[in-house]
C-alpha cells in the first residue's frame, strides 16, 4: 500500500468505527431486543416473533399508523403546494424580493417545540376569540381538545414550519431554468398556466421529487409538534408512531415491544420512500 493510500484509510477509519458503534450497533441491538421480552433493564428472555404478532392485533398501534399517515400525507401535499406557489411568486417580477424571501424562511430557524407552544396558546385562546367575534361556530372553541379536529392544528404548525425550507429548494430549482426558455414560450403565446405545466414544472420535477420524498419522510416521524400541542390527545387521537414508541418504550415498560414497533416503522419508511422515488422518477421521465 502506498503512503497516500494509507493516509486515505486513516482518514475514514475513526469515523467508520464511531459510526458503527453509535449508529449501526444500536440498530442491530434494536433488532435483537425486538425478539425478546425486555422491559428495558434487567433479565430478558427470547420470545421469537411474538412482539411482531402482537403488534398486528394492537388497536393502539394500528390507530397510531392511521393517524401518522393521514397527517403526513395531508401535510406533505399542503406544504409542497404552498411552497411551490410562494417560490413561483418570489421568482416573478416583484419588489422586495430579498426581504420577502427572508421573511418566508424565518420559521426554519425556530425550534418546532417552542413554535408548537406558541400555537398551542393561539389555538386555545386567540383563535376562538376571533372566531366568536366573526360568528364562526366551528372554530369558536379550542380545536386541540376536539378529537376530530386536533390533528388539523398539528397540520397547521407542521406546514407553517416546513414551507420555509421547501420554498428555498423550489427557488433553487426555478433558478436553474434559463430565462430565454420562458421568454420563447411567452412569444409563442403560451399563457401562465400553460407555461407552468409544460415548461416550468417538468424542468423542476427533480426538485419536486426530492421535496415530496423528504417531506413525507420527515412528517412520518412527527414528534416535537405533537408534544407541544396535544401530547397525543385528546385520548389517543393524535398519538403518532414516534410518540407511541417513546411513551410506551421509555415510560410504559414496553421496551422490547415498542422496539419491534420501531423496526416495523423503519421498514415502512424505507418502503414508502422507495415507492415514492420510483413513481415520481417515472413521472419525471414521461413529463
Amino acid at each position: 500500500m502506498t503512503r497516500t493510500a494509507r493516509a486515505f484509510y486513516w482518514m475514514v477509519i475513526p469515523a467508520l468505527v464511531l459510526f458503527a458503534v453509535f449508529h449501526t450497533l444500536p440498530v442491530l441491538q434494536g433488532f435483537y431486543y425486538s425478539l425478546t421480552d425486555s422491559p428495558g433493564y434487567g433479565a430478558h428472555a427470547f420470545v421469537g416473533l411474538r412482539n411482531y404478532l402482537n403488534l398486528l392485533r394492537d388497536d393502539r398501534v394500528l390507530d397510531a399508523y392511521v393517524f401518522t399517515f393521514q397527517f403526513a400525507i395531508v401535510a406533505t401535499v399542503l406544504t409542497n403546494a404552498i411552497a411551490l406557489a410562494i417560490a413561483l411568486g418570489l421568482n416573478a417580477r416583484i419588489r422586495l424580493r430579498t426581504t420577502l424571501r427572508g421573511v418566508f424562511f424565518i420559521p426554519n430557524v425556530l425550534a418546532i417545540l417552542i413554535v408548537g407552544y406558541i400555537f398551542n396558546y393561539l389555538f386555545a385562546n386567540a383563535l376562538p376569540a376571533v372566531a366568536q367575534a366573526l360568528g364562526i361556530t366551528a372554530l369558536s372553541s379550542n380545536i386541540l381538545v376536539n378529537p376530530d379536529l386536533a390533528w388539523l392544528g398539528i397540520v397547521v404548525v407542521a406546514v407553517w414550519q416546513a414551507v420555509a425550507f421547501n420554498v428555498i429548494i423550489y427557488l433553487a430549482g426555478l433558478q436553474t431554468i434559463p430565462g430565454d426558455v420562458r421568454e420563447a414560450a411567452t412569444v409563442d403565446g403560451a399563457g401562465a398556466w400553460r407555461q407552468f405545466r409544460s415548461i416550468v414544472f417538468p424542468l423542476i420535477a427533480p426538485f419536486f421529487t426530492i421535496n415530496m420524498v423528504l417531506s413525507l419522510k420527515n412528517f412520518l416521524q412527527v414528534f416535537d409538534h405533537i408534544v407541544a400541542l396535544t401530547n397525543g390527545g385528546p385520548g389517543t387521537a393524535t398519538t403518532s408512531v414516534s410518540l407511541l414508541i417513546y411513551q410506551g418504550g421509555l415510560e410504559g415498560g414496553e421496551y422490547a415491544y415498542q422496539t419491534a414497533n420501531a423496526v416495523v416503522y423503519f421498514l415502512v419508511i424505507v418502503a414508502v420512500s422507495v415507492f415514492q422515488l420510483r413513481v415520481l422518477q417515472r413521472r419525471e421521465m414521461s413529463a
Binding site: 497516500t4 475514514v12 410562494i86 417580477r93 416583484i94 424562511f105 406558541i118 416503522y265
Partner: protein, 274 residues
C-alpha cells in the same frame, strides 16, 4: 430579445399578505411576553398597555436562562466546529477514492443511514450513552457529529468531485503529503460547502428537542428547547412569563438570522442544488 415588463405590484401585495402568516405569530409572541396577565382576555393581538419588562427577568430566573443558553451555545458551537473539521476530511477520502469498491461501499453505508428513523436506535443509544458517561453536553456534541455524517458526506462528496485534481497534484509534486494537501489545499476550497454544512448543523443542534430529551440526564445540562418542555407545568397559568421565556429561547437564532440572512439563505440554496 428581452421584453421589459414592469413590476407585478398585485403579486408583490399578495406575497406581502402571505408573509403575514409568518409575522403575525411572531408579533403575538412579542406582545404577549410584554403584557400583564390581566390583559390576556380577548384575542390578544392588541399592544400591551404598559410593557412588563419584568416578565423577562422572571423567566430568566425561573428557567435559569444563562445556564440553558450556555449549554445550547456550547453544544451547537462544538457540534458545528467538530462536524466541519471531521466530516469534510472523511468525505475527501471517500470522494477521491470512489473508484475503489471499499470507499464506494463506505459512501453508501454512511448515506443509507438517512433512512433509519431515530426511534429504532433511541432506546439502545440511551443505554449506550449512560453506560459510557456520555449522557451530557459532550455526548450530545459527539452524537451530532457522528449522526451528521450521513447527510454531510452526501453534500461534501458531491462538492469535492467538482474540484479539479490538478491543484492537489501540483502540491504533491512539491512534496506535500495527503494530510497537508487536505488542510492546505482542499479545506480552504471547501469554504462554500462548509458554510452550508455549518448552517444546517447549527439549525439542527440548536433547535433539536428529542435527542437532548432522551440523552441528557442532569438538569444542569438542559438546552433551551428542553427547558421550555420541563417548565411547561410551572408556566401553566402564567402565560406572560411563558411567552417571555419562549421569546428569549428563540431570540439568539432569530438575531443571528437577522444579521446573516442573505448568507444563510445562499448557504441553504447551495446545499439544494448539489
Amino acid at each position: 430579445m428581452v421584453r421589459r415588463k414592469g413590476v407585478n405590484w398585485w403579486l408583490t401585495a399578495l406575497l406581502a399578505a402571505c408573509s403575514l402568516t409568518v409575522l403575525v405569530p411572531l408579533y403575538f409572541t412579542v406582545v404577549t411576553a410584554l403584557k400583564q396577565p390581566a390583559e390576556l382576555a380577548g384575542a390578544g393581538f392588541d399592544l400591551p398597555d404598559d410593557p412588563q419588562w419584568g416578565n423577562f427577568a422572571e423567566a430568566w430566573r425561573l428557567t435559569n436562562y444563562p445556564q440553558a443558553a450556555l449549554n445550547s451555545a456550547l453544544i451547537t458551537v462544538g457540534a458545528v466546529l467538530l462536524t466541519l473539521l471531521t466530516n469534510s476530511l472523511v468525505a475527501y477520502a471517500i470522494a477521491r477514492n470512489l473508484h475503489s469498491r471499499v470507499f464506494r461501499g463506505l459512501y453508501f453505508y454512511f448515506v443509507s443511514a438517512l433512512f433509519v428513523p431515530f426511534p429504532i436506535i433511541m432506546l439502545p443509544v440511551i443505554k449506550q450513552t449512560s453506560a459510557l458517561g456520555l449522557d451530557n453536553q459532550l455526548g450530545l456534541i459527539f452524537l451530532y457529529v457522528v449522526y451528521g455524517l450521513a447527510f454531510n458526506i452526501f453534500l461534501y462528496v458531491g462538492y469535492i468531485k467538482s474540484i479539479p485534481r490538478s491543484l492537489e497534484e501540483a502540491a504533491r509534486t512539491d512534496g506535500a503529503g495527503t494530510w497537508t494537501v487536505f488542510w492546505r489545499v482542499i479545506f480552504p476550497l471547501l469554504a462554500p460547502m462548509n458554510a452550508t454544512v455549518g448552517i444546517l448543523t447549527f439549525l439542527w443542534a440548536w433547535n433539536d428537542f428529542l435527542l437532548p430529551l432522551v440523552v441528557l440526564s442532569s438538569p444542569s445540562a438542559r438546552t433551551l428547547p428542553l427547558v421550555q418542555y420541563v417548565f411547561q407545568n410551572q408556566f401553566s397559568s402564567d402565560y406572560t412569563t411563558a411567552f417571555a421565556s419562549y421569546l428569549m429561547a428563540l431570540a439568539p437564532a432569530l438575531l443571528v438570522y437577522l444579521f446573516a440572512q442573505r448568507w444563510v439563505i445562499s448557504g441553504v440554496l447551495r446545499g439544494a442544488v448539489k
